[in-house]
């Protein structure tokens, strides 16, 4: 047992950070299992009643389904846009691709409300208002920075010697792509997809300003219910978000080297 005071201090500090980050989640989780309609913490009596009510409610299920559809399509679009850009940077060092990636990265840095306003003005001008695809295309552009940077990390892990060997042996681009690039990139593509999916499903302001009156996503529905007062099914919706987010990132840690994906290049022993 290591009783070095520095170690105790470090552990204590990280423990407090973890507790702070976990506290609101624990509260919501435990309130969701409470039997009473009143919001009370700590819960008094265990019950799955609100889960039954949530999954039996047409409006909640419709919002959940809508959010899942939007997130899936937005993730697909942004990965499909980021993939050729990052490939062109890696394979051809194309300046035009670097400019596109720069714009994608810059978009990630503008405050959410500004992006929301820009996009809602855009859809207003096109006259194509209040549609699901507006949210899909808006989420995909705002979150484009994520697949761009994750896929770039992926391309950098590809062994250049292997690619060169393939070309020396007379492989064409398509062969090299199939034999070297695709297998190496699959986990990164999957991670980029998961990351955009999770962020899209949680996003409120853009979805609300672009099509909030007609396309009620899960966050919009939760916020609308919040304004009408407390309802225990809201906690269930919140728990669903938590479960989806944490399982998505656990999955991500299984398919890819998470420390590397988050920017660590120095090797890390087990």
């Amino acid at each position: 047992m290591n009783l070095d005071p520095g170690m105790i201090l470090r552990r204590g500090f990280l423990g407090l950070v973890a507790l702070f980050l976990a506290a609101p989640l624990i509260v919501v989780l435990s309130v969701s299992f409470n039997a009473t309609r009143r919001m009370s913490f700590p819960p008094t009596e265990f019950s799955l009643r609100w889960y039954g009510e949530f999954f039996g409610d047409y409006a909640w299920m419709a919002s959940l389904e809508r959010s899942l559809t939007i997130a899936g399509l937005a993730a697909l679009v942004s990965v499909m846009v980021a993939l050729p850009i990052t490939y062109a940077i890696w394979r051809y060092q194309a300046k035009a691709a670097a400019v596109l990636a720069g714009i994608g990265g810059a978009l990630f840095l503008i405050p959410g409300v500004v992006a929301a306003l820009m996009l809602s003005a855009f859809w207003g001008v096109t006259g194509h208002v209040g549609r699901l695809e507006n949210v899909v295309l808006s989420h995909a552009i705002v979150l484009l920075g994520i697949p761009l940077s994750l896929l770039m990390v992926g391309f950098r892990t590809i062994d250049q010697a292997q690619v060169e060997a393939a070309y020396t042996m007379g492989a064409r681009d398509s062969d090299a792509f199939r034999m070297v690039v695709r297998p190496a990139m699959t986990p990164y593509i999957l991670c980029a997809f998961i990351f955009v999916f999770v962020l899209s499903i949680n996003e409120y302001l853009i979805a609300y300003m672009v099509a909030g009156f007609t396309v009620q996503t899960l966050p919009i529905k939760i916020f609308a219910s919040m304004r009408q007062g407390y309802e225990p099914t809201m906690c269930v919706a919140a728990v669903i978000f938590m479960v989806m987010g944490f399982s998505a990132f656990t999955l991500m840690s299984k398919v890819a080297d998470l420390p590397r994906l988050m920017g660590r290049t120095r090797p890390l022993e087990d």
């Binding site: 913490f41 409300v113 003005a121 761009l148 302001l205 990132f249 991500m252």
Partner: protein, 297 residues
């Protein structure tokens, strides 16, 4: 986190000549999408901020500075001042918690690091709606926290823990902390452990190694971390709306109110343009500051 700036320096060897048609085939689709969904809306917003406001939430193209004149009012100065105060307070708290946390995490064994990363990514991605809702439950008058504080006399019985400034600040710190930890993660994990070992061997304590060696090396990163918090805080909408009172409303709420509530899109656009200009100015300032420091070092 590295998502903020996709690095463009792709390491690569000599490649065959670029086939133009190949590049065109690869990039036309993405370029069109980015043009239509990012460049056009940005121009549109600038145009909108100069447009003429009509009744009933409508506007007609024009070139007038009516909306920008509203930026010269004490009201706007107060809103921006408050947003900046909130952002800087939040940044100081976030960075001083996140930096040591990220430092400790990067020194853990792999399994512990992966667990922390999953936890941080999971809490980072949680909807602002959800976090605000959780804080509402946590801070509610019927909650344990209020009860405990009332019991020790820190809170009047039946008193509320929100809406007020500390509630807004705490929730913002909560939302940003995982972001900022993950932002520091790559740079701190790149730090050569041998540098620290060398300092320790030469007799420096762990603490002074941290403050004299690690911190100065990370100045630029820390400044950028602060900037990240400021950008996010200026965009924060739900937190001040639910956990604050009107004096604690950030610029984001006013933009949204102008656009959705009052139907004055040109004013909302002028506010937004002002925010972007302000952000760019901060970005340039940060770059200059970190460059001067590097030059001095």
């Amino acid at each position: 986190m590295s998502t903020a700036e996709p690095s463009l320096a792709a390491a690569s060897v000599d490649q065959p000549a670029k086939p133009r048609w190949m590049l065109a085939g690869l990039l036309t689709g993405p370029a069109l999408y980015i043009l239509i969904m990012a460049i056009v809306p940005a121009f549109l917003m600038v145009q909108l901020s100069l447009a003429h406001r009509e009744v009933g939430g409508l506007w007609s193209p024009g070139f007038e500075l009516t909306q920008y004149r509203q930026l010269a009012t004490p009201l706007f100065a107060r809103i921006m001042g408050f947003s900046l105060l909130l952002a800087l307070t939040g940044a100081v708290i976030c960075v001083s918690l996140a930096f040591p946390a990220a430092y400790f995490i990067t020194r853990m064994r792999r399994r512990a690091q992966v667990a922390w990363l999953v936890f941080l990514l999971g809490s980072l991605s949680l909807s602002e709606v959800l976090i605000v809702f959780a804080f509402q439950v946590l801070l509610s008058t019927s909650g344990t926290l209020a009860g405990a504080l009332a019991a020790v006399g820190l809170l009047a019985p039946g008193g509320a823990l929100y809406p007020n400034f500390p509630a807004v600040l705490t929730c913002l710190v909560y939302l940003l902390l995982p972001y900022v930890i993950l932002f520091f993660y790559p740079a701190l994990s790149q730090l050569d452990p041998e540098v620290e070992q060398a300092a320790t061997t030469m007799g420096a304590s762990r603490l002074s190694t941290f403050t004299r060696v690690v911190l100065p090396m990370m100045r630029g990163q820390i400044l950028t971390g602060v900037l990240l918090v400021v950008i996010f805080t200026f965009g924060a909408y739900l937190t001040p709306l639910v956990l604050g009172r009107p004096p604690q409303w950030t610029i984001a709420i006013h933009i949204n109110n102008a656009a959705m509530g009052a139907g004055n899109l040109p004013l909302a656009a002028a506010y937004a343009v002002a925010v972007v200009v302000f952000m760019v100015a901060l970005l340039v300032l940060t770059r200059l500051l970190s460059r001067r420091r590097e030059a001095a070092a």
